[in-house]
């Protein structure tokens, strides 16, 4: 992939004080972020965190209530028509026509991007090969597997060579191999100068792809930094212990004391996660303190932090804690994941 793939012009996405409510539900409550050319910015958060709402505003599909989003300095509301040529959008559900072939899908989007028929045809052929759909190019898309549909969808958002690529949970529901393939493509696009903004529920995805991560929670930025920054806050691995018997949770929490600085405590599940920068040494220290205090636990061990724990540590509640409902879109419940 080369820089000219992204139209040659670097484009920055700037979001400032962005707010959006659906009825009584605040989907976004003042979000600031910057996505830079040649970089992947990951929006990490659980369902209902506001990720899709943010993406839809940037892609000119939704108007914000307050704040602004600018793409290459152009406002997504006031200059929507000028923003659209700069953005390629891959939504949460593969937006391809199942009754058209892969090639026809790409050519249609290319023509609607005002490329002209000949140029749309030329680029479609090149893209089909690039997303490994060359052999399936002239089959109806309804015969494609989930991974093929995703790749075709991504190709459709690339046909106009947009300098900004917006991906809403691009790998949700994909098998590990297809996911890895998409990761390689996305990383390649960023290396070629494209500004990539992607949403994900997977810490691993953010870790592998993103130069910067913005953790969204209940429509606010809960944390921001490089993947290394965020993991450092949790000390990478954690000691996780379970103490659900009456009284034992509090006893264990008290016993850990200073070793447990930054611990994420989840009394409902009787679970405590302690950052373990020194790995087994931290585990030993925790065990020693528990033994000294005669605090009984049911289970204890070293684990990599899960997204749940990142959330617990950053926000004080779990990723699956009941938060605001997902941004209400009339059609969400009717969409089928195919």
């Amino acid at each position: 992939m080369t820089g000219s793939d992204a139209g040659g012009t670097p484009v920055t996405v700037e979001v400032s004080g962005l707010a959006k409510s659906f009825g009584a539900t605040r989907a976004l409550a003042g979000v600031d972020l910057i996505a830079e050319p040649g970089r992947v910015l990951a929006l990490l958060g659980p369902n209902g965190a506001g990720k899709t709402t943010l993406v839809r505003i940037i892609a000119t599909l939704l108007r914000p209530d307050a704040g602004s989003a600018r793409v290459g300095g152009l406002d997504v509301v006031a200059d929507a028509a000028a923003v659209r040529p700069l953005i390629g959008l891959t939504g949460q559900f593969a937006a391809i026509d199942a009754l058209l072939t892969g090639r026809e899908n790409l050519e249609m989007v290319g023509e609607l991007c005002q490329l002209g028929r000949a140029e749309a045809r030329r680029r479609a052929a090149g893209l089909l090969a690039r997303v490994s759909l060359g052999d399936a190019a002239d089959r109806l898309a309804r015969t494609y597997s989930g991974g093929m549909r995703r790749r075709l969808d991504l190709a459709a958002s690339l046909i106009a060579c947009p300098p900004v690529l917006v991906l809403d949970e691009p790998t949700t529901g994909l098998d590990p191999r297809t996911r890895a393939e998409l990761w390689t493509m996305i990383a390649g696009l960023a290396a070629g100068g494209t500004t990539v903004l992607l949403t994900t529920q997977y810490l691993e995805e953010a870790d592998r792809l993103a130069h910067r991560v913005v953790v969204l929670d209940h429509g606010r930025v809960a944390a921001e930094g490089t993947p290394a920054d965020l993991k450092a806050r949790l000390g990478g691995t954690v000691v996780e212990l379970h103490a659900s018997a009456p009284g034992s949770f509090d006893a264990a929490l008290a016993a850990i004391g200073a070793v447990g600085d930054g611990a994420a405590a989840d009394p409902d599940r009787g679970r405590i996660s302690v950052p373990a920068p020194d790995g087994a040494a931290t585990l030993r220290a925790v065990l020693d303190r528990l033994e000294a205090a005669d605090a009984a636990v049911e289970d204890i061990g070293l684990r990599q932090p899960s997204l749940d724990e990142v959330f617990l540590a950053l926000t004080g509640h779990g990723a699956d804690a009941p938060g605001p409902a997902p941004a209400p879109r009339r059609d969400t419940s009717r969409r089928s994941r195919r």
Partner: protein, 266 residues
Amino acid sequence: MTANTDHPAPAIRRAGGLAVLADTAVITRRNLKRIRRTPRLLAVSSVQPVMFVLLFRYVFGGAIHPDGTSYIDYLLPGILVTASLFGATTSVAMAADLAGGMIDRFRSLPMARAAVLAGRCTADVTRSVMVIVLVLAVGTLTGFRFHGGALPALAAVGLVLAFGFAFTWLYALVGLLVGDPETAQLAAFIPVFLLVFASSVFVPIATMPGWLQAFAKAQPVTVTVNAVRALAEGGGIAHWAWQSGCWITGFIAVFGALAIARYRAT
């Protein structure tokens, strides 16, 4: 927010007035391919008007005696108009595009806003042409004749298509409002069912009770069917054609505007 001064040069040409037509053509082509690739849907939607011709011609035809004309000559213009309304797939297709994410994709592209709807409606009109040819063939076999000459016959077909086109904007609006294909199908059918049966399509209005006559006389299906009938029979058409033209213009203006507004706001 600091001002970002790198205004990127537009990589592709801006959508202009001609782009509306070009984009509509692209969307129309897409929808025609869809119709071609669902031949069973096309076949089933063609069977219904043919059945209507045969059933009404032979089952009810003996009992209904319109003034000064044979029942098949009376019936067929009505079936043509009905076929252009009943077979339309726009409401279902718009709802399916909305639910499947296609509308999001189209709305994020630098394309003309009206093209998705206009392309949809144009494709439905093309489908109507095929059904009309079929109904005319079956009608001719069962005794229907144009008595007014070739030009009025063409005008009759044109009027039927224009009327169907006007209604597809209502269907598009319903599809976008309902957002679910199965519901959209039924929701669009209810008003059309009422308009088709409480009209002069199958029986002369004079046989209806007075209160219903008042409605049936003025409503768009009746005036359009009467205009098509007049064109086919070769009588005075001005009275009905004028009213039909008003309905068609009104439908396109009102439901077209509402549908496009809804599409923008979706």
